[in-house]
């Protein structure tokens, strides 16, 4: 780890002002991603601004539109086990609890989860080039061992996936991210928050450096009757997703009125295909319809030497997860909120 100065911000404005003091400054929340990256010498801030003392960011509040506002500093564990989240957004609970370990979820914050960086092996290995770590140096993953890499939305410059589980559920729920910076506050729809790699894979999302996430806003509809989060990984718990699926369904008299399907582990951001969701509207919740939707979602997939298996895996995961969403009780522990 490099040397750096450390300051604690008292409130939001203080944090924004402190982060503006130099180009090498960075906010720290739970530290579970940032400190790890600093130990690998991938991130080398010269000033850390600790935002944990900002009281405002530690609350979960009901919002005027019937939704919920999740403070940026509420931990992943406190969010997943919050009674209102468990009742009204169980999909979000499941997704969070499918990620990391109990200790990490006790430390990891909601804001930090959205800003965690890719787990691409080459990104983590400072002995190799990587366009995300060092723009213009190249992408060894494209010709390399790319088993875990993206199959959708890649560019010739980067094929990394975004590893957050929580974000897959937030995408399915149509959440938005409230941010604040020197120029004021803005609300960013979740689908616009993370970016595709394009020519600038080093930029993960649409936030500017001095901006702070203040909260995550959930709309009123939490798909709490028919939902499921399925995470397929190399071991049964405590690993990142090869493919994950968040499904929320609304049924009326046995027919699908509203469907949301978001994929994780396949792209630089949570992946949704509106066409497939629209197709399911007014259809019966039958396996063949889910298969058809899965085909539509994976239509544009582009695979690399070692990750072609993800296409079939994703299709099957979508179908299985949509069926599980009909009866959420059948989900296994590990993705279960409270017993």
């Amino acid at each position: 780890m490099n040397n750096f100065s450390y300051t604690q911000a008292k409130n939001r404005d203080d944090a924004i002002a402190l982060s503006g003091m130099g180009p090498g400054s960075q906010f720290i929340a739970g530290g579970t991603n940032l400190i790890d990256l600093m130990k690998y010498n991938i991130t080398r801030p010269n000033a850390l601004v600790d935002i944990n003392a900002i009281e405002d960011f530690h609350a979960i509040r009901e919002s005027a539109n019937g939704g919920l506002s999740l403070g940026a500093l509420v931990t992943n564990a406190a969010t997943a086990y919050h009674p209102l989240v468990e009742q009204r957004y169980p999909l979000l609970s499941r997704a969070i609890l499918a990620g990391a370990s109990a200790q990490i979820r006790n430390m990891a914050t909601n804001g930090g989860n959205l800003l965690q960086r890719t787990r691409c092996y080459y990104f983590y290995d400072t002995n190799t080039p990587c366009n995300k770590r060092e723009p213009g140096s190249g992408c060894p993953a494209i010709e390399g061992y790319n088993r875990t890499m993206a199959i959708m939305g890649t560019s010739e410059h980067c094929i990394a996936v975004f590893p957050s589980d929580m974000s897959v559920a937030l995408a399915a729920l149509n959440a938005s991210v409230q941010v604040s910076g020197p120029e004021g506050s803005r609300n960013i729809p979740f689908s616009d928050f993370h970016r595709l790699p394009g020519n600038t894979p080093h930029i993960d999302n649409c936030m500017s450096r001095n901006e702070l996430i203040t909260s995550i806003e959930l709309p009123a509809n939490g798909f709490s009757n028919h939902y499921s989060y399925l995470k397929i990984r190399d071991r049964n718990s405590y690993a990142f997703a090869l493919v994950s699926v968040a499904t929320g369904l609304e049924l009326e008299e046995g027919v699908i009125k509203n469907a949301r399907i978001a994929l994780g582990g396949v792209a630089h951001k949570p992946w949704r295909v509106k066409e497939a969701e629209d197709f399911l509207q007014n259809k019966e919740p039958a396996a063949e319809n889910f298969w058809y939707a899965a085909e539509m979602i994976l239509k544009g997939a582009k695979t690399f030497q070692f990750n072609a298996f993800k296409v079939e895996l994703a299709k099957r995961a979508i179908v299985r997860n949509c069926i599980m969403a009909l009866n959420p009780e059948c989900q296994l522990p590990g993705a279960q909120a409270s017993a």
């Binding site: 564990a77 006790n106 718990s237 522990p333 590990g334 017993a339």
Partner: protein
């Protein structure tokens, strides 16, 4: 000339130590640490509490688990400066008055360690898990203890030891 040299040595920039006060195992202590010192290193090197182990140093093994303000956390992924004012329990603080913690006894009875390296983290993590009150079945206990890796094969016995203490607790 000599005085000049002494003065210039004194005016050398000093490292930016920060004062951190912690309550560790119910004892209050004040430390002078550099910002980049992890809580794990502060516990082991500055406070000489070497029970907490450094396994991976990257959040992947759970060996460094301690209980901070009632919650289990990883001391390798937090900076000591960030924990100013916190209350911390390490494996050295779980026994009371010379009496082992029920989990410590159960680990011995169930042969729940071979090399013993992951043991302090396992025990602190299990105590934290009990406080969370979320794991009811064996499958849930396994899942919620999965952040603690035992690499030498004692895991089944570790889960047995935890289940036994859980059963004792529910009879109390």
């Amino acid at each position: 000339m000599l005085t000049d040299q002494i003065i210039s040595a004194k005016s050398m920039p000093t490292l930016p130590h920060k004062t951190v006060s912690l309550t560790v195992n119910e004892k209050h202590c004040t430390l002078e640490v550099l910002p980049w010192v992890s809580l794990l290193d502060a516990l082991r090197e500055d406070l000489d509490l070497t029970g907490t182990k450094k396994g991976c140093d990257h959040g992947q093994c759970g060996a460094c688990t301690v209980i901070c303000d009632g919650k289990r956390i990883l001391s390798c992924l937090t900076l000591a400066v960030m924990k100013n004012g916190s209350e911390i329990t390490t494996i050295e603080g779980v026994a009371t008055g010379g009496e082992l913690h029920p989990l410590q006894k159960a680990f011995i009875e169930h042969d729940a360690f071979q090399c013993g390296y992951c043991t302090p983290g396992q025990i602190c993590s299990a105590i934290g898990m009990f406080q969370e009150g979320k794991a009811l079945t064996r499958a849930e206990v396994k899942e919620l203890m999965s952040g603690n890796l035992c690499r030498c094969g004692a895991n089944t016995n570790i889960i047995d030891a935890i289940m036994e203490v859980k059963a004792q607790m529910s009879h109390e």
